[in-house]
Amino acid sequence: MSNAAFPRLLARFFRHAGPATASVSTLILGWEAYVQLSGISPTALPSPSRIIGQGFVQREALARHSLATLQATTFGFASSLAAAFFFSILIDFCRPLRRALFPVFIITQTLPLVAIAPLIVLWFGFGLTPKIVLVALVTFFPMLVALAQGYEATDRNIAALLASMGASRWRIFLMARLPSALPYFFAGLRISITYAVVGAIFAEYAGAARGLGIYILNAKNNFRPDLVLAAVFVSATLTLLLFGATVLLQRAAMPWARLKEIRP
């Protein structure tokens, strides 16, 4: 890297990340100032410095529980993706099946999590299974819709071209419809991954041996809002990291999407 490139890179970083950094720091500083000046009890509203301090003291427990949540999120999301791919292909090839299954999928989205989470724990126990089921339940539909819509977005000329070449329906799906769905898939992925962490925490909250959800529940029951918020901070960080991973994944998987015409 040349000497001139580094300041430019730095300037670009501040132009992109600067506003967000400023707004978040202002919020935290204002919060800290309010707690210090008003003398409000830390059991009602702990200051950010107290949250960070107590969170640091509890770092081993937080890490252990985060790992459990991350595990539930990953497994749940992976099963959800597999199911979404399977069903999206099924309904893409069979229109009547689409009309039969879509209402069922929509109904799964109307179930209030507060009611369904304890039931799922009741049916599947305190292990990993109920978390996987709940995460999958929350993220399946957005992924399915994204994929189904993505297949439909295939350029008709490309499909006609492949058909004229003698490509089978499955071949056209693999060569044209599936790659056409990639931008939609990643848009769905970015939305679902944020639901996924929340879904896992919700499932743990309804009953679990380990996980951020049960950690939050215990902290609340012990009147430790500082630890509740420390766990919230960890889960937010987890979500942001997963979100960032999907963005990087998209860049790697779709190198052509950011290309422009070369003008000699």
Partner: protein, 249 residues
């Protein structure tokens, strides 16, 4: 007369209550460049759908080298509207598409198309993505993808419709030059009179929907042609425009 490469006899086609094709009869000889010219919505694309097997005619016959055309045989190399390049495939992998569908392995298909890149003005752009190329280059890549399939006949559906006027004129001259060298059998669908006159040996002008062949024009001028400015072409162009703008009632 020798046997026609393609012969359409009294084709008709309706979509529901809409009669799109009323009575289409035309023929294309081997090595001949024939255009179908017609107003928008006249059913030009429907003729292509029938030829590529995307739909079937209500009546009439389609003969290829004297044999009835069946939808399972793929006699035509089809170039759809726009360029229909896959944005996620590099140019070389776009041009091998037809060969891959025919069952050729990717490496073998690449070896087959690679020597043609220079002639199509695409040398050095093999590993680029379509988004990186200009409109004209994309069209040349699309044509390369079409001819490399080595089908007995090319079907071109308004290949230059999406280009700006200057690029279109350049591409038409380029295609005229390429055709003079290769003498492919071509059926071109277009609504650009000048394009049809510059490129074709014969032109079928369609009526408004439901389409029938309104008139057939010969363009008895040797290839390579001097371009749209030449008096012979201009006279034919004027005559065709007259037919299109003042349909007999």
């Amino acid at each position: 007369m020798s046997q026609a490469r393609l012969e359409l006899q009294h084709l008709s086609k309706s979509f529901g209550p809409t009669d799109v094709l009323a009575d289409i009869s035309l023929s294309v000889q081997p090595g001949e460049f024939v255009s179908i010219l017609g107003p928008s919505g006249a059913g030009k694309s429907t003729i292509l759908q029938l030829l590529t097997g995307a739909s079937t005619p209500d009546a009439g016959q389609m003969l290829h080298d004297g044999q009835p055309l069946s939808p399972t045989q793929h006699r035509f190399a089809f170039m759809p509207q726009g360029d229909a390049l896959m944005p996620w495939r590099r140019i070389i992998d776009n041009t091998t598409l037809g060969l891959e569908v025919q069952g050729l392995r990717r490496e073998a298909a690449r070896a087959r198309v690679a020597p043609l890149f220079a002639e199509f003005g695409l040398a050095g752009f093999e590993d680029h993505y379509p988004a990186q190329l200009s409109g004209g280059m994309r069209q040349r890549a699309a044509l390369l993808r079409t001819v490399v399939q080595q089908r007995p006949m090319l079907l071109l559906d308004e290949p230059f419709g999406a280009l700006d006027a200057l690029t279109r004129a350049q591409m038409q001259r380029w295609l005229a030059g390429m055709w003079t060298r290769h003498r492919w059998t071509v059926l071109l669908i277009t609504h650009d009179v000048r394009e049809a006159v510059l490129l074709s040996d014969r032109i079928y002008v369609l009526s408004a929907r439901p389409a029938r062949v309104a008139q057939e024009f010969q363009v008895p001028i040797d290839h390579p042609r001097q371009g749209a400015g030449s008096p012979g072409l201009a006279a034919i162009e004027a005559e065709i425009l007259q037919t299109l703008l003042n349909p007999e009632d």
